[in-house]
């Protein structure tokens, strides 16, 4: 036994999976300490805010306390253009130039002549060609789009205009307008800004912190996996042991139910049970229990067949001849032989429990949405609020990645255990 444990610890596959799981657990344990709070709190007014650090604009305009410093930095304007003249705007500019650039006295431009990445060329061409007064056969809506684009392009350099801010006046119950001037060379120290927030994975459709949600979701999903796996393994082991060892009519009855469950696909049963429980009654633990109750079949079947071959082994006969009771024989002479298999089955059950929850939640049959986030619920929200159409990759790729990583590492652990236990058992 000790020998086996040593071998498991030396197995590369097992250890890789184990270390990944441990790192995930570390994240789950530590992150909420550093960043406490309710993961379902809607902190943003906008949906799908992209990842990054956000500073309070208001606080950085705090001119009164004179936290403004002035630098003359080379290439500042270039960077500004680079940063503010976004890809979509540049493509729109090019499109306009190619389609409407040709007029009397002004030669047209071909697609090849314009490089979307050359911002200066684009800006020059735009100012040279664009005339907001011309309709050029566009609909009003379309021409509005280009007028707004023109305003944005102009705004890249018009930083001096940001010079108004307001303060809420308690007595008058209205905003007081303050005037100040902010110029190109004004800087503030990030540490002087009172309010900022780091959103490593942005926010999702409800304006909630995705990272915080993800960490809590991992914890809930792992719990669901563990509970479901424990229930499934316990039921499967118990029924397998009893059916296999006792045999006869008991075996027939247990196998009747097992076969019944085998014929009905687990996912169908899962959906039916979850549906009948009702949205409000489905807490994460209820879902875990339901998953556990519907996934013990294969454990029971294989434990049973192993026990059936073990029970006629001579060491069991010898144990009987030594006067041991049936429970003792089952626990001491049968259980250790199936233990390694059961551990492996458990690891897989945890993994498939997590996947089952994800599947159920995607169908809208997962835990209720007001309680705790789960990986499946996060997927469901991302899908339902079309994160993929919004280009909000941060709302679903990390979740998918975490699900894949967890089940990958659990399967890796399982393979590692398999390699250690199987040749040994036959040999020993």
């Amino acid at each position: 036994m000790k020998n086996h444990i040593r071998q498991v610890l030396r197995s590369g596959k097992f250890m890789t999976g184990f270390i990944i799981i441990m790192l995930i657990l570390l994240l789950v344990a530590v992150y909420p300490l550093l960043n406490p709070g309710n993961p379902l709190e809607m902190i943003g007014y906008n949906s799908f805010v992209k990842p990054g650090v956000y500073f309070s604009l208001y606080d950085s305009l705090d001119m009164e306390s004179r936290h403004v410093y002035r630098f003359r930095l080379e290439g500042a304007d270039e960077l500004r253009i680079y940063n503010k003249f976004g890809t979509e705007d540049r493509i729109a500019v090019k499109e306009w130039l190619v389609r409407y650039g040709e007029r009397e006295g002004v030669p047209g431009l071909t697609e090849e002549e314009i490089d979307v990445d050359d911002r200066y060329q684009l800006l020059d061409l735009w100012w040279e060609h664009y005339d907001p007064t011309l309709r050029l056969g566009m609909t009003i809506a379309a021409s509005r789009v280009y007028q707004r684009l023109d305003a944005r392009v102009a705004g890249i350099f018009n930083l001096e205009d940001y010079n108004v801010y307001t303060i809420w006046n308690e007595e008058l119950e209205e905003y007081e307008v303050h005037q100040t001037t902010v110029v190109n060379d004004d800087y503030v120290n990030v540490n002087d800004i009172a309010n900022r927030i780091w959103l490593p994975l942005g926010t999702e459709n409800f304006g909630r912190d995705v990272m915080k949600q993800l960490v809590h979701a991992i914890r809930t999903s792992l719990m669901i996996g563990l509970v479901a796996g424990t229930i499934a393994t316990a039921i499967g082991l118990l029924l397998g042991l009893v059916a296999g060892y006792v045999g006869g009519i008991v075996d027939d009855i247990i196998m009747f139910f097992t076969n019944l469950f085998t014929v009905i696909p687990g996912i169908v049963l899962l959906i039916l049970i979850s549906y009948s429980i009702g949205q409000e009654q489905r807490g994460a633990m209820t879902v875990a229990v339901v998953i556990g109750l519907t996934s013990w079949i294969w454990t029971a079947r294989s434990v049973r067949s192993q026990v059936m071959s073990l029970r006629s082994r001579d060491h069991v006969n010898l144990s009987k001849l030594s006067g041991h009771s049936m429970p003792r024989i089952v626990v001491r002479d049968i259980l250790p032989y199936v233990a390694s298999y059961v551990v492996m089955a458990f690891v897989l059950q945890v993994s498939s429990g997590i996947l089952a929850e994800a599947g159920l939640s995607m169908l809208g049959l997962g835990p209720k949405t007001t309680d705790v986030p789960t990986l499946g619920l996060m997927m469901n929200w991302a899908m339902r609020y079309t994160a993929h159409l919004m280009g909000a990759w941060w709302a679903y790729y990390p979740v998918v990645g975490v699900i894949a990583l967890i089940s990958f590492s659990l399967n890796l652990m399982n393979t590692g255990l398999d390699q250690v236990f199987n040749p040994q058992l036959r040999e020993g």
Binding site: D314, H315, N317, K320, G323, R332, Y337, G428
Partner: protein, 288 residues
């Protein structure tokens, strides 16, 4: 074959009937997958005897043994233990029965629980004989005695796992187990079939020594006619679940009646000839 015939064929004055059976039958499976493993056999085994049951592979020897031990149910027929029909319906009665009848199995490698240290096998025997309350020192002394009976050193055996022993050592430990249990009947199911010829002789000697020491009856299962002749008083020949011939070893071997027995006897020289040959040759080529 009826018990009358047995009476005529083999005299048994001054001997106590120890284990007997009437119409014992075992059927595995049902329908067209039915196997008749033991087919309506009668037998009478007497105290102190060494009985061999000889038969080829699949003739039902192990099945008969398991029935005698009460490890499998008997499909039909009755088994008598010490003159009375045996009753092993409760666990308590079974436990009592197993104090009188014990076994050594065919395959030493599957006779041990690989997760338990071998000490536990011997301790179980001491506990079964009512030694649960003995002091640890006394228990160790008993185990030491049992080990030395089978030429094993207890200090080398203790705290080891079964897979650290050789097949011969495992089987000898099984004999040590019987030494501690001191049953009236020992069923030895081909205890030497998985072991090399050298340890085979040692194990046979130990079995015989054990019989002399505690005066138990041994039922020795084998498929080797020569071996049966060498060790036993009485020989039963089993073919396809039936006893086709029985009698004293001399009678059966020197004057076989059944066709099957003759066939089995024909096989014996084939095994012994090369051995004889190599022994002669060794005598010739030996340097001194």
């Amino acid at each position: 074959m009826s018990s009358d015939n047995i009476e005529k064929a083999y005299s048994k004055e001054n001997r106590e009937l120890c284990l007997s059976g009437k119409g014992v039958t075992k059927v595995f499976g049902f329908g067209n997958r039915k196997t008749l493993a033991v087919d309506n056999v009668d037998f009478e085994f007497y105290t102190g005897d060494l009985i061999s049951i000889v038969g080829e592979s699949g003739s039902g020897k192990t099945t008969l043994i398991k029935m005698l031990l009460g490890l499998t149910s008997v499909t039909d027929g009755k088994i008598f233990f010490m003159g009375k029909e045996r009753d092993i319906r409760t666990r308590q009665k079974k436990k009592e029965y197993w104090k009188g009848i014990q076994a050594i199995f065919q395959d030493p490698f599957s006779s041990y629980n690989i997760f338990n240290k071998i000490d536990s096998v011997l301790l179980d025997c001491i506990h079964m004989r009512g030694g649960r309350r003995l002091k640890k020192k006394e228990k160790i002394e008993m185990m030491r005695e049992a080990c030395s009976f089978v030429n094993l050193k207890f200090d080398e055996m203790t705290n080891k796992y079964p897979f650290e022993l050789s097949g011969g050592q495992m089987q000898r430990l099984m004999i040590a187990r019987i030494f501690l249990l001191r049953p009236k009947i020992l069923l030895a199911d081909e205890p030497t079939s998985m072991i090399d010829a050298c340890s085979r002789a040692t194990i046979l000697d130990m079995l015989l020594k054990l019989r002399d020491e505690i005066g138990m009856m041994i039922i020795f299962i084998t498929h080797d006619m020569g071996l049966a002749y060498y060790v036993s008083d009485t020989v039963y020949i089993m073919e396809k679940g039936k006893f086709v011939e029985y009698g004293s070893a001399d009678e059966v071997v020197l004057n076989p009646k059944a066709e099957y027995t003759k066939q089995l006897l024909n096989d014996v020289p084939k095994i012994h000839d090369p051995w004889e040959f190599s022994r002669n040759r060794r005598e010739v080529t030996a340097p001194d």
